[in-house]
Symmetry: C2
DNA sequence: TAGATTGTTAATCGATTAACAATC
DNA sequence: TAGATTGTTAATCGATTAACAATC
C-alpha cells in the first residue's frame, strides 16, 4: 500500500471477481469462497486473486476464505458500482441501439447492475425524439445541457469514425471525463480524460493472426 | 527471432499500424513513414514500434523509414488479412445484427477489409431464413454443416450468457478454433481453441472504477 | 558527406508466480 | 488441535524504454 497506481489489468479482474460473487449471492451457494475457487471461476491463479484483492485491503480470513456478501459489497464499493452510473450513448445506429437496449434490459433485470443508459443522442432528425426502452433520443446539440441535467458521468461513442473526435471534444467540454470509444480511430483528449478503445473490428482483425497456427 | 511467442499486445498494435498504413496508401500522403510518426499516429513510442516490427523481420531502411506500400502488405500477410476470413455470427439479437451490418458494410466499402460475415445463426423460427445484407440467417442446427460448406474460420458468439457455452461446444466440434465471445461469461474450450472476451458490460463496469479519481 | 533513422542490445520497469509464516 | 487459507515477501518472468552503432 501507499504508492498506489493500480493497473488496468487488476481492475478488469476485480470486475470478474465481483460478477462471480454477485452470482453466488443470488444462488446462495455458500457463505465463503477461497482465492483458489474464485480463481477457478475466472481463469486466474489463486495467488493473483489474493494479490489483486490485497491492493485494496484485507478482506479474507485465514483458513476460511472470503465472506461472499462482504467481499461482494467491497468490490462494488471499489468499482464505484454501488449506485447508478449515468451513461450517454452518442450515435444511435445499429451498434448504439444494440448497446442501449442490452444495457437497459440488464439494468431492469439485475438488481446489482448499476450501468444506467440515461440519454441517447443522434443528429438524424428522424431519430430525434424517438424513445428507446423509456430513454429519449436527443439532438447532439443538446448534449452539454442534458449531460448536466442528467448527471451523465460516462460517454459511449458509437458514431462513424469521421465524427468520433468531434463528439469527444463536445464530451470533454461538457466535463465528461470517461469515454468508451467504439469508433475504429484514435481520439485525442486532455490528460485528465480517460478514453478506452472498444474497437470491435480490431478484435476480429487481431484474432485473424491466430488463424495461421 | 527463433523462440517466438509473440504477445497479444504486440499483435493488437500491429493491427493499429496496419490501419494507419492502409489509410496512408489510400490518401497517397507519402511513400515512407518513420517509426516515430507511426508511433505518433497510434499512441505508441517509436522504440516500441521498431521492436514490434522487428519480431517479424527487417522492414525498414536506416535514414529513410518504412516503405508504406511494402510494410502495409507485410502486415496484412502477418495478420493473415490478405484474403477473406469467413466469420459466422451466432445469435442475431440487437448486438449480433449490429455487428453483422457494420462489418458487411465495411467489407463492401473498403478494399482491404477482409473480415467477411459469411453466415448468421439463430434459433428463433421467425428469424431463420431472413436475409441481412445478402447473408442468410440459418438455424443453429445447421451450424456444423454450414461451417464446412462456407469454410468458416471464426465464430462470434452473441447469444445470451446462458447459451454461450453450448454454442462454443458446437463451434469446437465443427472445428472452429477461433472464437470471439460477447456473452458476459467465461466459456471453457480445449487448449487448441482460442476464445477472446469482448464483453461490453465489462468495459463499462471497468471504466466506472475511474469515476472516483 | 551529414543527417536521419533503423535494428538491436542493455537497462528499467512492472506484473505474475511461488513460497511460507501467520493465524483462523 | 490440525488443516486450510490468508496476506506478503522474494523470485521469476516478460514487456517497455533508452541508447547507440550501423548504415541508408
Amino acid at each position: 500500500m501507499g504508492n498506489r497506481k493500480i493497473s488496468d489489468a487488476v481492475i478488469r479482474r476485480i470486475v470478474l471477481y465481483m460478477r462471480v460473487l454477485d452470482e453466488m449471492e443470488q444462488t446462495s451457494e455458500k457463505d465463503a469462497i477461497s482465492s483458489y475457487e474464485l480463481g477457478e471461476r475466472t481463469g486466474v491463479r489463486a495467488a493473483q486473486v489474493r494479490k489483486d484483492l490485497a491492493w485494496f485491503g484485507e478482506f479474507g480470513k485465514q483458513g476460511v476464505g472470503y465472506d461472499v456478501q462482504f467481499l461482494k459489497s467491497q468490490l462494488h464499493r471499489i468499482l464505484h458500482l454501488e449506485k447508478d452510473v449515468n451513461v450517454a450513448v452518442i450515435g444511435v445506429g445499429n451498434l448504439g441501439l444494440a448497446l442501449a437496449r442490452y444495457n437497459l434490459e440488464r439494468y431492469k433485470k439485475e438488481k446489482e447492475y448499476y450501468i444506467k443508459i440515461a440519454a441517447l443522442f443522434d443528429n438524424n432528425p428522424k431519430k430525434i425524439g424517438e424513445i428507446i426502452e423509456g430513454v429519449t433520443i436527443y439532438s447532439i446539440d443538446l448534449l452539454s445541457e442534458i449531460v448536466y441535467e442528467k448527471e451523465i458521468a460516462m460517454g459511449v461513442i458509437t458514431v462513424p469514425s469521421l465524427h468520433a473526435q468531434q463528439i469527444a471534444d463536445i464530451l470533454v467540454k461538457a466535463n465528461v471525463k470517461t469515454i468508451l470509444n467504439f469508433a475504429p480511430t484514435t481520439i485525442v483528449v486532455p490528460e485528465d480524460t480517460r478514453v478506452h478503445r472498444a474497437d470491435l473490428s480490431l478484435e476480429l482483425q487481431h484474432l485473424a493472426y491466430y488463424l495461421g497456427s
